[in-house]
């Protein structure tokens, strides 16, 4: 029996501990820690892929980790985004302190890897903190006023969400006498009372902060704007997905639960439907009015979280139905696609900010002439985010909306489709600014090779998945049965 998963955990843990030590050694190559982390992440991804092909659970983990395909999907997505961020950081982090930076990135990656596979509430909480704590530091890594503000805000909100989750866990333990997710769920469902509903809602709130669900989204735009832009990419594309895996593992198992005992209006399905509606609408409307690119992307990322939630609704209403499996497949596909689209878009914004020293939308006027590769990447990402075929975002939205049409929540599909049409208002408007408006200059700006490589991979994936979506669909649908635990 091969222990690929254990190997990848040990590898990342070792990297996390070793990288900061590099600061003590004099090395000529300043990017060495970055290179090492990139290699470690690539190997970890390979190991996770091998584990997904032939799942095996090491006896070390006991019942803490579930070595399933669902975890594999999220581990690959989060590690992949971290790798993208690491490669892009080769250009933006050429300072001496960079070994600490990469060390923290590595810790976050380890946290997300563990979180993806957690099937015990305590393991989940430890992984959650392991993922979150380094990002509080990373958000403030620039030590500017806005960066510090972002860091403090993020840390305070993060602490609050952790406290809420911990409180929910304590309720769960008190009610069922176990922290094993499957046992907790069984206990909750077989013995519903007011407290189980409270615990479920506390989980929604706690995870909701990371998932950027309205009304738990207030911190997102400020933090994404203040944090170093590569870290915003990490927060939007990776740690947010970690919120979703936690929600899928814990919340979706609670589907048959009534939030208020036996009141047919207050089912988990309706909670998700309402949250999805509010989240996508608020995100899209707010995005339209933004003046800064990172804020705009932050709100668009809130809207995208709403689309992912749409896929939860049919599952929560009847987990055994076809609609449920279409919806969850769509949600997992959207997680993967959103990580690629939003990760690349944030990195492009990071590059513009680094090279032009401007983050407002005015910097994007006429960008196609100044930074053609970046502008093209952004244009492809925007169209994909709006769900224009034949790009990857189209397929996940097709699955999501089909699932709710199928699952008797047709009004949610109407709302989602209108939201997509509405969102093109700002996405197309940005494409217009980049390709049709006149910029302040037409002078070419350097686009570093590492960024171009990341962009090429992302655009290749967006178009490739868009034309040949079958592999992704198989991958995502293979993970769905794991949700039942």
């Amino acid at each position: 029996m091969s222990d690929y998963l254990a190997a990848s955990i040990v590898l990342l843990a070792g990297t996390s501990l070793a990288l900061p030590l590099l600061q003590l050694v004099k090395v000529k190559e300043r990017n060495l820690p970055g290179y090492l982390l990139a290699v470690a992440l690539a190997i970890a991804m390979a190991l996770v892929s091998l584990n997904t092909l032939s799942p095996s659970v090491s006896p070390w983990f006991g019942s803490l980790l579930a070595s399933d395909q669902l975890g594999g999907v999220f581990a690959l997505v989060t590690l992949g985004v971290t790798l993208m961020v690491t490669v892009a950081s080769f250009e933006t982090r050429k300072r001496l302190s960079n070994s600490v930076y990469y060390g923290l990135l590595s810790f976050t990656a380890l946290g997300m890897l563990l979180l993806s596979y957690s099937q015990d509430l305590l393991m989940l909480f430890v992984a959650w903190e392991l993922m979150s704590l380094p990002t509080y530091v990373l958000a403030g890594f620039d030590k500017t006023e806005t960066s510090n503000e972002a860091s403090v805000k993020y840390a305070v909100i993060g602490a609050m969400s952790s406290a809420i989750i911990l409180y929910a866990i304590s309720l769960a333990y008190g009610l069922t006498g176990s922290t094993q997710i499957s046992t907790v769920v069984e206990g909750f469902v077989s013995n519903q009372n007011a407290l189980t509903g409270v615990a479920a809602l506390l989980f929604v709130a706690g995870f909701g902060f990371k998932m950027s669900i309205v009304p738990f989204h207030m911190w997102i735009p400020d933090v994404y704007e203040g944090a170093p832009p590569t870290i915003s990419a990490l927060l939007a594309a990776a740690t947010k997905k970690a919120g979703f895996i936690a929600a899928i593992r814990v919340l979706l198992a609670l589907t048959t639960l009534f939030v208020i005992t036996h009141n047919p209006l207050f089912t988990m399905a309706n909670v998700f439907a309402v949250l999805a509606l509010i989240t996508m609408t608020v995100g899209n409307v707010a995005a339209l009015t933004q003046r800064s690119m990172t804020r705009l992307l932050a709100y668009s990322s809130i809207a995208q979280a709403g689309y992912i939630l749409v896929g939860f609704v049919p599952f929560a209403s009847n987990p055994a139905s076809l609609a449920a499996s279409i919806g969850m497949t769509g949600a997992i596909m959207q997680v993967v696609n959103h990580a690629i689209m939003k990760g690349a878009a944030f990195l492009a914004a990071a590059l513009v900010l680094t090279q032009l020293k401007r983050g407002d939308l005015g910097a994007y006027d006429g960008l196609a002439k100044r930074m053609p590769v970046t502008a093209f990447t952004l244009a492809v990402c925007f169209l994909a985010l709006a769900g224009v075929p034949p790009l990857n975002g189209f397929w996940s939205k097709l699955f999501l909306f089909l699932s709710v049409v199928y699952g008797q929540y047709g009004w949610l599909a109407v709302a989602g489709i209108l939201n997509s049409a509405f969102s093109l208002g700002y996405y197309a408007w940005l494409v217009k600014r980049m390709y049709m408006d006149e910029g302040e200059s037409t002078e070419r700006v350097k686009e570093p090779t590492w960024f171009v490589i990341v962009f090429a991979v992302a655009v290749g994936l967006i178009i490739g998945i868009g034309i040949f979506p079958q592999q992704l669909i198989n991958f995502a649908s293979g993970a769905v049965p794991n949700i039942f635990g």
Binding site: F399, F401, Y406, A413, S420, A421, Y435, M436, Q470
Partner: protein, 490 residues
């Protein structure tokens, strides 16, 4: 299994990067490469047209079909499923012909960012071919949306002074329309578990037809465009460069007419028949609205744009007249009208480009004495106007005649539609009087188009004359389509 239709889609898609590279090597190389590739597509399209003409597929069936599994999930699948019949083959042919003519016309009228322009042109052509040959609703939708992207850039980058506004308006209107259409398709799927057009036609329960009919008709009405969904069109046309207006009017609007026939009527026939009067009235209203608005226009191009609304109203009018009366001339005429309108309006839009290029303006009151200063342009203008008015010997006459006859057999009240060609003739003749027959401004010299340009315009107009004689090349294959649509609606 034949691969002609796949070639028809993927030759242009592959041509897109090729011409981009060719233009980077030099403008002439690029033009020749584009012309050669467009000619290849035209040969393929001619083959498709000929194949459908020589053995028209029987009712509800398709020729040159191709089918391969594309996306599979649990027990639902989305197939890469192509086929043509008498409805799509004329549109495929006219798309290929117009693209070649647009390559020729753009040579003079497009003077910056050529590599991107021609690359997008072929992307557009491939997507349009996909729209007209898809037999799966999702595949259809994918191609339908790809069409938007090149058009957005065409208007926004190569357009006139208000190009950005027009481009945004275009993409927002059409994208909103098409997402609503997609919602209709999903609703159909939830009820019948299929996305395949041939399987769905005639097999959707009546109770499931109403909502998708409404949803898809909104998408098609925006494209057609049907008043009141038309406001993007005058802006888009006025701002788009003239060669692109040719494609916009000649090809993109046909997507709306095609959608109404293939999907609104073909898939939701009973609901369509029940509300046929509404669609008929909307079509009639569009015809009058387009014609009357055209009278008021000072800009020659805007006048032609409103003529498009007027002419596309005929398509809807004819299609639904058949549903009411059972008179097949309506649908046949609608298909014929789409073909003739593409060529006649295409020629007029290209002409506005030449007039603008040579006279520096398109304002009708400022264009004086074209008969003297630009005799060749003036001749072509008069002939193309005659084609657009529906004057014999141009086959647009026959198309409009058929549609009106079908309308009258639906109800005598619709005989008022006969006024539309009269108004159209009126404003075209008035425009000719003001521009061609007026005395020239003193001191203006002769600055005319070349003979080879005249030759290019002949390519638009000669088929129209020939088709009056040989109308059966379009009407024969259109007959089974019309019979099929009437049959499923009955």
């Amino acid at each position: 299994m034949s691969i002609v239709l796949s070639l028809l889609i993927f030759v242009p898609f592959l041509a897109s990067p090729l011409v981009y590279l060719a233009f980077r090597a030099g403008k002439n190389t690029g033009i020749y490469a584009s012309a050669a590739l467009a000619a290849v597509v035209l040969v393929l399209a001619t083959y498709v047209f000929w194949a459908v003409y020589s053995s028209p597929p029987p009712q509800g069936q398709y020729l040159l079909t191709e089918r391969a599994s594309w996306v599979n999930f649990a027990f639902f699948g989305i197939d890469y499923y192509l086929g043509v019949d008498g409805l799509s083959s004329p549109l495929i042919f006219v798309t290929a012909l117009l693209t070649l003519l647009v390559v020729y016309g753009s040579r003079k009228l497009i003077d910056h960012n050529e590599p991107e322009y021609y690359a997008l042109l072929f992307l557009f052509e491939g997507a349009i071919m996909g729209v007209f040959s898809s037999l799966n609703l999702i595949l259809f939708y994918v191609f339908w949306e790809i069409v938007l992207i090149p058009m957005f850039f065409f208007i926004g980058i190569w357009g006139g002074p208000r190009r950005k506004y027009a481009a945004m308006k275009f993409i927002l209107f059409t994208f909103a329309g098409s997402t609503i259409m997609l919602l209709g398709f999903l609703y159909v799927y939830a009820g019948v578990q299929s996305f395949d057009i041939p399987d769905l036609a005639g097999h959707i329960p009546v109770s499931l037809q109403y909502l998708p009919l409404l949803a898809s008709s909104i998408g098609f009405a925006v494209k057609l465009p049907l008043v009141p969904f038309h406001t993007w069109l005058p802006d888009a046309h006025v701002e788009a460069p003239s060669p692109i207006s040719v494609l916009l009017a000649g090809v993109l609007l046909k997507m709306g007419g095609y959608g109404f026939l293939r999907i609104s009527i073909g898939l939701f026939p009973n609901a369509s028949a029940q509300y046929a009067w509404v669609f008929l009235a909307l079509g009639l209203f569009s015809m009058f609205y387009g014609a009357i608005s055209a009278i008021l226009q000072r800009d020659l191009k805007k006048m032609v744009a409103f003529t498009s609304i007027n002419h596309m109203g005929f398509v809807l009018f004819g299609a639904y007249a058949t549903l009411i009366s059972g008179n097949l001339l309506g649908i046949q005429g609608a298909i014929f009208q789409m073909f003739t309108h593409a060529l006649a309006i295409g020629a007029l839009f290209m002409l506005t480009g030449y007039v603008q290029h040579q006279a520096g303006t398109r304002e009708i009151p400022l264009l004086k004495g074209l008969g003297t200063t630009m005799p060749r342009t003036a001749t072509v203008l008069v002939l193309a106007s005659a084609a657009a008015m529906g004057l014999p010997p141009f086959s647009s006459f026959l198309a409009e005649f058929m549609v009106i006859v079908a309308g009258i057999s639906a109800s005598i009240v619709t005989a008022v539609s006969i006024l539309v060609p009269v108004i159209t003739a009126g404003y075209f003749l008035w425009m000719i009087k003001r521009t061609v027959l007026s005395p020239p401004e003193p001191g203006s010299g002769v600055h005319d188009m070349t003979l080879s340009d005249v030759g290019a315009f002949a390519v638009y107009l000669i088929p129209l004359v020939l088709l009056l004689v040989a109308s059966y090349v379009i009407l024969n294959p259109a007959l089974p389509v019309a019979e099929f649509l009437r049959g499923v609606a009955a």
